[in-house]
Amino acid sequence: MSDAMVRSETELPEAPDTPSEDSVREFLAFGLSDETYGLPLSSVREIVKPPPITEVPRSGRDVLGIISVRGRVTTVVDMRRRLRVHESPFGRATRILLVAVGEEIMGLLVDRVMQVFRLSEDEVEVATVVGGDTAEYVMGIGRPQSVRGVGRGRDLMAPASMGRDILILLEPRALLKR
């Protein structure tokens, strides 16, 4: 499936016949250090455990290197470096998200993958509070009002944690710009 198709679906204004469904967007939540981020679920192709990564000399500082995913050479970016959060050593929960960024599939290394959030429009706030160098990557702030997690995530999100969960929603396309 073409990446453009996926994107346009998610960016289309609500179709008149199913307004309630279309204003809800799904985001995959992942953790970097003690922050929680979200990427549009439609852009995430796959989640893999980190295979051996071949470093690429003279690439950007946040480029960890390349991996081969089913014969395809994929660039892996360390999201912790790119978003300037604390870097901890690879753990058991470390994952690589394979994300469609423009025409390329890129690997984004994250500390942990959490759950899928379905956010309606009023739960997404346009980012104004996030400043600094990393602001270009942020498309908004997600504040889930209700437990909308799907699948396993429902258990992870206990009502007690409500209100504390703030998702920094990232724009995949912006991640490529360097």
């Binding site: 051996p52 025409e103 360097r178």
Partner: protein, 299 residues
């Protein structure tokens, strides 16, 4: 098949097909006399065989007469009288790929636009392919073209630098020698060694790539001599791992600004190795030392 191959394949393929129709398939009358259906058949087959694609063009025409081919070749001075006796059947058929060979003197509309089969063969060899021909008088002729699936399959020398593996395309590798650190001299701010009386600039890949070692460098290192035209450069590496046929895959757009690598290859067991872009590294290393030289600063 690689798109680049397809583009370069259409001309030679058309030529073979035209040739078969024009020279191979006889007129309906002749065919009927030979007990064949009046309409000639030209079969085009393609299939995959390992890392190669085989394309067959087969006609049920007159076939080629081996002895006539040899005679023609002798007439045209492509073959000596002495050589004609010990020429094999295959060799005889392959005579048609020699420049200046054409079994028909007249030029027709369908084929014979002055392009010989030699051009076809050259085009196919340029693609890394092989063309073969088999023919039987009265039965037909079959051309078999074998092509690599992708132009990106190359032979490479795998080398180790600071515990990492890199691939150097074998086409640019001239030789590999044991590195003698005591033989290194500095000439105009550039490290050089003497190789068979000549001066060879060298480049330590470890420092060029800024690689950190977890162990100290091995006592015995190697110099891989790459050459491009008149220019030569020696890459200092830790170990030679051997030769391997690899498939080069391009690096993603996100790495398009990184110079010095032609791509990457999957070594199996999940390991990926970068393929050095020898021309660009050669350019870069030789140019940068020139700068150092001009400003009087040694690198």
């Amino acid at each position: 098949v690689d798109k680049l191959i397809v583009e370069d394949l259409s001309d030679p393929l058309m030529h073979i097909i035209r040739n078969s129709i024009d020279h191979g398939i006889e007129s309906p009358k002749v065919r009927e006399l030979a007990g064949k259906p009046p309409t000639g058949t030209l079969a085009l087959n393609a299939y995959q065989k390992g890392n190669h694609v085989v394309i067959e063009v087969e006609d049920d025409g007159a076939g080629m007469d081996e002895t006539r081919l040899v005679e023609m070749a002798v007439q045209k001075g492509l073959l000596t009288q002495e050589a004609r006796t010990d020429i094999s059947t295959d060799e005889a058929f392959n005579l048609i790929f020699m420049p200046g060979f054409s079994t028909r003197s007249s030029i027709t509309d369908t084929s014979g636009r002055g392009v010989g089969m030699d051009v076809v063969k050259t085009n196919i060899s340029n693609l890394g392919g092989v063309i073969d021909v088999h023919s039987e008088v009265g039965t037909g002729t079959k051309f078999t073209i074998t092509l690599p699936i992708t132009l990106a399959i190359i032979s490479a020398l795998l080398v180790e630098v600071a515990e990492r593996v890199y691939a150097i395309p074998l086409t640019v590798v001239q030789e590999a020698i044991v590195f003698d650190p005591t033989g290194v001299r500095r000439v105009e701010g550039r490290e050089v060694i003497t190789l068979r009386g000549g001066t060879l600039p060298i480049c330590r890949l470890q420092s060029l790539f800024g690689l950190e070692r977890s162990q100290s460098a091995p006592v015995k290192q190697f110099v891989v001599v790459v050459s491009l035209g008149q220019r030569r450069l020696g890459f200092v590496v830790d170990a030679l791992q051997g030769q391997q046929d690899i498939v080069i895959k391009s690096l993603g757009r996100s790495l398009s600004s990184v110079r010095g690598f032609a791509g990457a290859t999957d070594l199996g067991d999940q390991r990926v190795a970068l393929v050095l872009d020898a021309p660009s590294l050669l350019e870069e290393v030789l140019a940068s030392s020139d700068v150092g030289l001009a400003s009087g600063v040694s690198p």
